[in-house]
């Protein structure tokens, strides 16, 4: 009975408005950008930014960040990761996102700064490995 009650309590605690996470990966330079609705923070982690001991030093890009979307779009729907008026990241729902390195196909394309284009996924909407798809289906060339 106690176990059942504990299970119900845990279930109820986890049901309402769970936090969502967005994660984007970029290549050349190698860095990643992570956003968590629970904290509202956007964090950049780069292989080029580390301390004296060689540990990576994540950098805060924005606080109180929200995702907003364009009410009209051409070709692909566009979302913006914004802190006030500042746009930190532009996200396009292309279904063709890439980290520039692996065979992973990401649901979203992330655009950071002038030239950095990467692949973005969320905790629930994951990228998938196209090469794995070939393997699973034994896909050969036609």
């Amino acid at each position: 009975m106690r176990v059942l009650l504990a299970g119900v309590v845990v279930g109820l605690c986890t049901v309402p408005g769970g936090a969502a996470q967005l994660h984007c990966s970029f290549t050349e330079p190698f860095f990643s950008i992570a956003y968590d609705t629970a904290t509202g923070k956007v964090i950049l982690t780069s292989a080029d930014e580390f301390d004296g001991d060689g540990n990576l030093v994540p950098r805060l890009l924005g606080e109180n960040v929200k995702v907003v979307r364009e009410d009209k779009w051409k070709d692909f729907e566009t979302l913006y990761l914004k802190a006030g008026d500042e746009t930190i990241l532009t996200i396009k729902i292309t279904g063709q996102g890439s980290d520039g390195m692996s065979d992973n196909q990401y649901p979203f394309e992330g655009i950071y700064g002038e030239r950095n284009i990467g692949g973005c996924e969320t905790d629930k909407i994951k990228s998938f490995d196209v090469y794995q798809l070939y393997e699973d289906f034994g896909v050969k060339y036609f």
Binding site: V67, Q96, P107, T122, K124, F137, G138, K140, F142
Partner: protein
Amino acid sequence: MKVAFLAILAAGMGSGAQAATLHCAFTEPFVDIDFDTASGNVVLTTPHETDRATGKPVPTTLAENAKLVREDAWKDFQTFYLKAGDQTILTLQLTGQGGDGMNELMFPFETKYSGVGGGCETDTAPAYDLGQLYESFDIKFGN
């Protein structure tokens, strides 16, 4: 000891080539097409073809010994063909923009069957719900 041996044996058997499934959904008419690498069968299910006694849909086998093959060169999007011998049952494009024509699901593949557009997904490349994305990130319109 026997239990441990059986567990190891079962784990060993399970690590072999796993079956993969492709699922495609269409609207107007409502049709589902499924392909399973384990059987090689392509099966069509529609609410328009039902068993009179039970009222349940009766699947139709479209093809046996089917295979998924891919184009070695492509423009814009990679193209796959679900083929049984020389017969092409479905043509799929890996656009990431597939839809079943009814809801907010985004499928990794776009396809057509009898001129009707549809969306396809696999076990490892599932469709996702765009509406659910908006909800989980509390996404609103505008700046």
